[in-house]
Symmetry: C2
Subunit: 417 residues, 2 copies
């Protein structure tokens, strides 16, 4: 007998029929002799519908009240799933985040878990119940309802698995697992049998939107064995764990890309260090995440530097720079869209020095200029012109030996929360 | 400065526009210099929609999970109302039932309040917030979410008023107040300026569905001053309080009727006391409420007796009787539909002995037979043939001097929860 956490996203419980399918899937697991805890997200578009309702009343709704509103989505899901499981003749109990013992810091919309007190769900498990926990939500010490932000249900699942020493945390989604790249672009993308936390983290951060980065971090920190698999079939998924089998000599495990990228350049900067501090301090104060930062060589005591932000933050970032312009010694600000960031990720990279050079070579052979480069121990990212996205990803996929004979089978848009 | 509880039912917050109207109404009250707590029900048909969703998954859904499901309706309402009030530039905080300190007995679907710990809402009030509390819900000592059953939001409002020593508990609905009878039947029904708790209780129990009986009982017990008024206009409503002004010499305050009545007769009963105990014990065990019980005279040691149940319980009651038939000495069970119960209610009745006789006279002049009679100190009820409902109610309304010159103005179907 093992203890499982099974997490189902919003599209997996999007209607009555899907809810029933999840119920059967959960009961199957119990039939195999295991104890089961289930974490669910809000059904289908519920969260977006609630946000729309709020925006009709207030275009800047207070975050505390938004948390109060949004957490109902998961509460509806857990109750209905429990009701569906009872119909199959099993004992089930649903718990809101706070009932399941999730305590968070006093922040709305993006709270971090501070503590989990799982005694109540453990008691319910011991009583033979299938336990169903609302994802994405917790409670502060003051009794305020909080949410974890997008991807929060993954975090709930991982944290619950960690707190109860579960043997497996299965993340059910609408794809079969983690792929070597987006199968919508590369038809013969490879489903990975296993992947390390660090690799997954890079992929998750790079927009391979199957698992939320925070959940992966949490899993790594608590050594929770994650399995990403499909809620629509019984294929084996991808196992995410600490050490993966390197025997195959795989250097690059996956290719990720991100189209939500804009580049902003600040030209003719003197007194570089002071300017950098001021610029990035101001952007941080405006809650704009900056990704890659590149500084060019200095000429006549003046330097240029560039950085990337999410495309959706471009306008806001330019406004921030406009606001501090008077105080700072730089000549010009330019910005660029229609870019993409493409990245190769692989734990094996550390011991293979030629990997980055090979990447630049493949990209340039496609006739595409590399505008920015960023590297970590297990990743190389290039910002390039976005018009040849598919060609570049395909060429890299082939170059690193990731192509498989059979074509990947995937579902619709992936399940993020 | 006074402390108000304002309660708005589901139809008052049924859509965005109505939600905004309630927000303005609440802010107006604060502008008059008062502290305001608001209790809201689930929006419009939300509760019924949630029940429908549950029934698609399970035709006998467990009550614990139904409470988990249903309480989301009110949670959505409080969050959206708070968001709407913030849009008007005011501070507001919403609280679920458990956050507002409502503790209940450990029963699902129909829990009674055991305790209210309003410190948190009082703190929010002192901080200048408009406080918004989810109706209809509480928490057991074990942390289980419970609901109060239909009409539960009225009870929340009254209980909150009692616990915080509020000066007024205003129940906003879609009629102008309590009427001398149903204005849909009697066009010149009279809106009552005031009514006693006891009278209201009789009217509430008799199907004048503006206030839930449990809420009235609670108000009487804690001497909470209730005001029933319209959420669609600023007309003065009806005040419900302990002692009402008797100067006008009003004997009968209102006429109520109930069409949800069936009569069941058990004929040829010997050993009457034993049979009664067995019959009503079995009905109670099946959770069937019995209203009026009448026993006819005894002939040859055998008696007949009749009782009324809700029409919707008729089949169930007959099945219960069928089940115990073998054990009991009675000859026959018959049942009758198409009945109505009509009642006159008035605190002044106590000192006016001819009131009941006048009622029988009025009914018989309409050519209608009286099948059963039941009385209390402030009420006389008759079960009669249902076909002449309108005529009988009108005739009684006129006979007791309740007709007014002007016609009553009322809205749509009344707001029950």
């Amino acid at each position: 007998m093992a203890l499982y956490v099974m997490k189902f996203g919003g599209s997996s419980v999007g209607d009555t029929e899907r809810m029933q399918r999840v119920a059967r899937r959960v009961v199957e697991k119990q039939d195999e002799g295991h104890q089961v805890m289930v974490v669910v997200s809000a059904m289908g578009d519920t969260t977006d519908e609630l946000i729309d309702q709020a925006k009709l009343l207030n275009n800047d709704p207070p975050v505390r009240e938004m948390d109060m509103l949004m957490t109902t989505g998961e509460q509806i899901s857990i109750a209905l799933l429990s009701i569906a499981i009872h119909q199959l003749g099993r004992k089930a109990m649903s718990f809101t985040g706070w009932q399941a013992g999730f305590r968070t810091e006093p922040v709305h919309g993006k709270a971090r878990i501070t503590d989990i007190r799982p005694e109540r769900v453990q008691r319910a498990l011991e009583d033979g119940n299938i336990v169903i926990v609302a994802g994405f939500q917790g409670l502060t010490e003051e009794g305020e309802i909080t949410t974890f932000g997008r991807g929060g249900s993954d975090t709930t699942a991982v944290a619950l698995a960690a707190a109860t020493s579960a043997d497996f945390c299965e993340i059910y989604t609408d794809v079969d697992g983690i792929y070597s790249t987006d199968p919508r672009i590369v038809k013969n993308a490879r489903k990975l049998e296993e992947i390390s936390y660090d690799e997954m983290l890079e992929l998750a951060n790079l927009g391979a939107a199957v698992l939320h980065p925070r959940a992966v971090e949490y899993a790594k920190h608590h050594q929770v064995r994650l399995v990403v698999r499909s809620s629509f079939n019984h294929n084996e998924g991808t196992v995410v764990k600490e050490e993966v089998n390197m025997e195959q000599g795989v250097v690059v495990s996956g290719i990720a890309y991100d189209k939500n990228v804009a580049r902003i350049s600040i030209l003719g900067v003197s007194h570089v260090p002071g300017v950098l501090a001021k610029v990035f301090g101001s952007l941080a104060a405006a809650k704009i995440d900056v990704d890659i930062i590149v500084q060019s060589g200095v000429t006549d005591g003046k330097a240029d530097f560039s950085f990337t932000v999410a495309l959706s933050d471009r306008e806001k970032a330019l406004n921030v720079l406009d606001g501090i312009r008077g105080e700072l010694p730089f000549q010009e600000v330019t910005s660029e869209e229609n870019l993409m960031k493409v990245s190769i990720v692989g734990a094996g990279m550390v011991s293979h020095p030629g990997v980055a050079a090979q990447m630049f070579d493949v990209i340039s052979k496609e006739g595409v200029n590399i505008k920015m480069v960023s590297t970590s121990e297990i990743k190389v990212s290039c910002v390039i012109d976005g018009s040849k996205l598919n060609e570049v990803v395909k060429a890299l996929h082939t170059a690193y030996g990731l192509d498989t004979e059979s074509q990947a089978v995937v579902g619709g848009p992936q399940d993020r929360r």
